[in-house]
Amino acid sequence: MAGSDTNSVVSVLATAPALEEWHLDLDGQGARREAAVARLHALLLRAARFEVFRRRASLPQLSAAELEELAQDAAGDAAVSVLRRLGDFRGESSFRTWAYKFALLEAAVKVRRRAWRDREVTLAPDGWSNLPHAGAGPEARAVDAALLDAVRDGIRETLTPRQREVLVALVLEGVPIDVLAERLGSSRNALYKVLHDARRRLRAHVAAAGYAEAR
């Protein structure tokens, strides 16, 4: 079966991550290091092109040459990150998989930021009022409407202004977290922590209002 074959191939990768050892030369010197860096760059470029191609629909205005430039930039930045963080590689996956994630991250962030480059990010303090309305109708809709009211109240009453801004931008306005981080001079991790804390406060508020949805 194709699925079993796929699993067995990947299983070998997962259980024998030390099979690829060329990356050890990245820490070396001279011609061997140069060859390893070239191999690393080729690997990262493959992953960056894969990611840019996957997400090309979000950049309809870019030509093939511009998409390639984006992939090349992502691969270059990923190579810098990989070389800087070589010491973090502990062999818990294959080196190839470990390196790929850097290129995918760089490419994904560049695509998101490029797609939003000319779009304004408004941090509307009352943006939570955009939360959809359940509308009138059957009893189930009345319950949903009351639940949405509880969520709106929670956003207004229990969140800090910063939590409200971040929650509204990320969840209701659909601003990618990397784009918001860039505009606010923050990082993905820091903004996710704000979002996480906002969600916890909101869950507590909705649970206190008697809704099981806040599990």
Binding site: T6, V10, S11, Y100, L105, V171
Partner: protein, 77 residues
């Protein structure tokens, strides 16, 4: 708006109580997680907190999907 339309929005607004790693923790473990996942291992027990993070963080979820798709593509090439 129906309950079906409402649930994804509520899920993103409220998140879940499940313990989860942050974005940096997700990135640190993502390579191991995807390889174990593709090998059919009980990945959520082996790498706790990562699945919950992927549910709550669309950006990390996209990168997880991409890494998985790339490895799958290469394993059949």
């Amino acid at each position: 708006m129906t309950r079906r339309d409402l649930e994804p929005i509520l899920r993103q607004l409220l998140g879940s109580d499940e313990p989860e790693v942050d974005c940096d923790g997700c990135f640190a473990a993502l390579d191991r997680y995807v390889e174990l996942e593709l090998a059919g291992e009980p990945v959520d027990a082996l790498v706790p907190g990562l699945r919950a993070h992927l549910t709550g963080c669309p950006a990390c979820a996209e990168e997880h999907a991409s890494l998985r798709a790339l490895l799958e593509l290469e394993s059949v090439a």
